[in-house]
């Protein structure tokens, strides 16, 4: 019984380790931002931690979420903004049921994440069905 208990816990621990592989620092293909994925509760969230162009050329101040549909949130800073939300591990290197936010236009898309290898993600944002979407490749970043 003890070995069965340990085996069950080991399997769960391995599954958890694999799910936690999403945690870390990632860069989208356009190189404009870096996103840190962290875990809150049992879900995964990604926060902008670096912007290639952090200053708004018009206001000359740090960029804020000026395109948010919710007017009351438009003064909040972009650096630190959580643009990946609510991802749940589905196993086999896939995380789903989450959303991705595009601060360029204030739109939120449904999203799935697939890990192609330990350092590469396919992030697909879509509208309603996966067919109506676009895939971007994110690469893992290491802090030197």
């Amino acid at each position: 019984m003890f070995s069965v208990l340990l085996t069950g816990l080991s399997v769960q621990a391995v599954a958890q380790d694999n799910a936690d592989k999403l945690i870390g620092l990632w860069e989208p293909s356009n190189g404009k931002a870096r996103v840190k994925v962290e875990k809150i509760g049992n879900k995964y969230f990604g926060k902008i931690v670096w912007l290639r162009e952090p200053i708004d050329p018009v206001t000359k101040k740090p960029k804020v979420d000026k395109n948010n549909e919710d007017a009351s949130l438009r003064t909040l800073p972009l650096k630190g903004y959580r643009l990946l939300k609510d991802f749940v591990s589905k196993g086999k290197g896939e995380w789903a049921d989450g959303t991705i936010y595009d601060p360029e236009n204030g739109s939120t898309y449904s999203c799935v994440i697939k890990m192609k290898d330990d350092n590469t993600l396919d992030i697909r944002g879509f509208i309603g069905v996966k067919a109506l979407g676009r895939t971007d490749v994110w690469k893992r970043i290491m802090v030197k």
Binding site: F2, R134, R140, I141
Partner: protein, 369 residues
């Protein structure tokens, strides 16, 4: 005893595992550390995006109603005419309105950084509400009937087609754009669709550069029916957004050119023009050996307002002035088409001239910003 000990050990393991899930988690962020980073392995290859900032959203599915208000149509008797002939017009049609439904779908097949491929369908129905066709001039024996006008009144015009667009980035700055379509145009309904030999093919290829997030340009060549008949025309693309992101241009000359005012990411105004055209098989006038094609082309000067309704559903309303570029008829022996271009001297079988009314178009669209 050993069993009890083992069970207790397992229980402790389980309790600790569960407790790890419920605790305050505090994460300190030293943002400066994210400056000095490197890729874990090779970085992602970068490709230019098909878009720049603030372009009007691309429509995935579109339903709209298009209507032109009253105007007159002057139609010659059948014969042989040069385009600039000052023909004696045999008939005048008083048209109360020209209206119909337009449906478009444009669905991504492949949508990745290194390739975007979309395919779509379009359906445009145009009904002519002609309240009178009267003979004109003082020529004796002017026919009382005008087959073309009465045919339009009875049957209208229908256009249905498929199209495909491929955007292929060639690295971070340059790209190729391919577009092709096949359309079946004519005075038909669902019960008398013409044969596929009446398909008309168009296409374009553009080489372009995306200079930065606010500018994109391209040059290319197209085979098009926008002038009413087949022609080969150079195309120029120029999409640009001002640094303050309040205005810009969306140009694909000569098909369309618009100046854009961006009120905010969910409201915008376009001011410009669009050149619409197609060649329609007139089954009403044609027979087995001889086909008649209506070469229809119109230039629409317009103001258009686009607005998000909710989520990815947008509304558009445009109004403007429809200017007749071509409404002449060609007679073609057998199937297929012929090339006249800008310098050909083939004769038209019927010359028509339309006065220019106001038009409007309202629509609902599912967009991909």
């Amino acid at each position: 005893m050993i069993r009890k000990f083992a069970f207790l050990l397992g229980l402790m393991f389980l309790v600790n595992f569960m407790n790890a899930q419920v605790q305050d988690t505090i994460v300190e962020e030293d943002f400066s550390q994210y400056e000095n980073v490197g890729f874990a392995d090779d970085g992602a290859k970068r490709y230019c995006s098909p878009k720049i900032y603030d372009l009007s959203p691309q429509r995935l599915i579109s339903v709209s109603w298009d209507q032109q208000l009253g105007y007159e149509a002057f139609s010659s008797r059948p014969g042989e005419y040069d385009k600039d002939d000052s023909a004696l017009f045999g008939h005048k049609g008083n048209i109360d309105k020209t209206a119909g439904l337009r449906l478009f779908a444009n669905i991504p097949i492949i949508s990745k950084n290194e390739l975007v491929w979309q395919m779509g369908l379009n359906f445009v129905n145009t009904n002519y509400d002609i309240n009178s066709i009267t003979p004109q001039g003082n020529e004796p024996n002017a026919e009382l009937n005008n087959g073309m006008l009465s045919g339009l009144d009875a049957r209208g015009l229908t256009s249905a087609g498929v199209h495909s667009t491929i955007f292929k980035p060639l690295g971070e700055k340059s790209f190729l754009l391919f577009q092709g379509s096949a359309d079946l145009n004519g005075d038909y309904g669902f019960d008398d669709v013409p044969s596929l030999s009446k398909l008309r093919y168009s296409g374009a290829v553009i080489y372009g550069k995306r200079s930065n997030d606010r500018k994109q340009w391209g040059v290319g060549i197209s085979r098009t029916y926008r002038v009413g008949e087949m022609n080969y025309i150079p195309v120029v693309m120029f999409n640009w957004t001002a640094p303050n992101r309040k205005y810009g241009t969306e140009i694909l000359f000569p098909a369309r050119a618009n100046f854009r005012l961006t009120i905010n990411p969910r409201n915008l105004i376009l001011i410009g023009y669009e050149l619409e055209g197609a060649s329609y098989h007139l089954a009403n006038l044609s027979n087995t050996n001889t086909n008649y094609e209506l070469r229809r082309s119109e230039l629409r000067a317009k103001v258009e307002y686009q607005r998000q309704i909710k989520g990815f559903v947008w509304f558009s309303a445009q109004a403007g002035w429809r200017n007749d570029y071509s409404f002449n008829v060609d007679r073609i022996e057998g199937d297929g088409d012929f090339f006249r271009g800008f310098f050909g001297n083939q004769k038209y079988s019927q010359l028509n001239s339309l006065t220019n009314p106001v038009y409007f178009n309202i629509g609902i669209h599912l967009v991909s910003p």
